[in-house]
Symmetry: C2
Subunit: 184 residues, 2 copies
Amino acid sequence: MLELIQTSGYAGTGLNAVIEHAAAPKGSVYFHFPDGKEGLGVAAVELAEAQFAALIAEAAAQAGSAAGAARAAIEALATLVGESDFRLGCPVSVVTLEMGAESERLREACATAFESWITPTAGLLVADGLTETEARSLATVIVSMIEGAVIVSRATRSTQPLHAAADVVVELIEGRIAQAGGAR
Amino acid sequence: MLELIQTSGYAGTGLNAVIEHAAAPKGSVYFHFPDGKEGLGVAAVELAEAQFAALIAEAAAQAGSAAGAARAAIEALATLVGESDFRLGCPVSVVTLEMGAESERLREACATAFESWITPTAGLLVADGLTETEARSLATVIVSMIEGAVIVSRATRSTQPLHAAADVVVELIEGRIAQAGGAR
DNA sequence: GTCTATACGACGATAGAC
DNA sequence: GTCTATCGTCGTATAGAC
C-alpha cells in the first residue's frame, strides 16, 4: 500500500489495488487489519516512518557530520524521485494532506512520523554543538524543506529543487555550527 | 472545490460534495467544465495559483524588502492554517501528490502554479541585489520550505514549523543579500 | 443554461464456506 | 487463516426534459 499511496494518494488507492499489487491473499486483509483501510493506512505510514528513519541513520553513520549526513540523505532522495520518473514521493505528506482533517488516527501517525525524523536530525545537530532548542527548530525546518522540495520536484519534473534544498541545508547547518562555535 | 480539496484531497472530494458546498446549480457542472472533474481540478489549481500570487504581491507592496515580504506572507499563511484548526493547507501540494503521476494536465497546472510563485519571489530577490540564477534557486527553496512547513504544521497541529521557517527564510535572504553586497 | 433521473463502475466492508 | 461471493454506498458521467 505504501507504494500505491505515493502514486495515487490515500483516497485514490483502493483496497482492491493493494491486494492485487501485493499479490496478497484477498480475504485476509480484514483479518490482519480489523479496522480496514484506516488500520492499513496507519501501518503504511509507520512503515514509511521506519524506512526513512533508517535512511537518516545510515547517512549519519557514513557521513560523520550533520551537514554531510543531510546532503547524503537528500541526494539519495533526489535519486529515488528522479529514477521513479517523479512518480514516488513521501507517503506521509500525502496522507497528512488528504486525511489530516478527517482521521485523527492517521493525522497522529503522520505527526509521529515527522517527529521521528526531526528528533534524530536534531540529535546530530546537538552533537555538532547546537543547543537543544536551536537544533530542534532547525531540524524541523530541514524536514519541512525536504518534504516541500520533493513536492516541487515532482510537479516540475526536475530534481533541481531537491539539489537546491541540499545546498541550503548544508549552508544552514554549517552557518549555525560556526555561530555556536564562535559564541563559545 | 478549492476549499474541499484542502480538507479532503482531490480524490476524496466528490463532485456531489462540490456542488452542494457551492450551492451551485447541479446540472451545470458539465456545461461549464466539459472535461468533468479534471477540468474543474485544473480551474481550482489555477484559482489557488492566483490567490497566493496575490498574497505575495500584497506582501511585497507593503513590506518593501524581500525579507519583510517573505515574513509577512508566511505569517499570514500561519494565521490562516491555525485559524482553520489546521484543516486548510495548500491545494496545489495535494493535487501534485495525488494526481501528479496520473494526470499530466493536473501536474502541469501544479507546476505552473509553483512557477508563478517562484518567479515573483525571485524578482524581489533580484531587486535586492542577487543574480538571476542565485535568486531563482533561493526562491525555489523558499517556496519548497513553505509548502513543507504547512504540511508539518498540519500534521503536528502547531504553527511552530511555519514560524521557524519564516525565521530561516529571513535569515537566508539577508545572508545572501549581505554576500551580494560584500562582493560588489 | 439548468434541472432530474439514471447508467455504470468502483469502493469499503461483511458473511459464510472451507 | 484464507477464500469467494455479495451487499450497500458513493463515485463520475450522461441523457433528455424544460
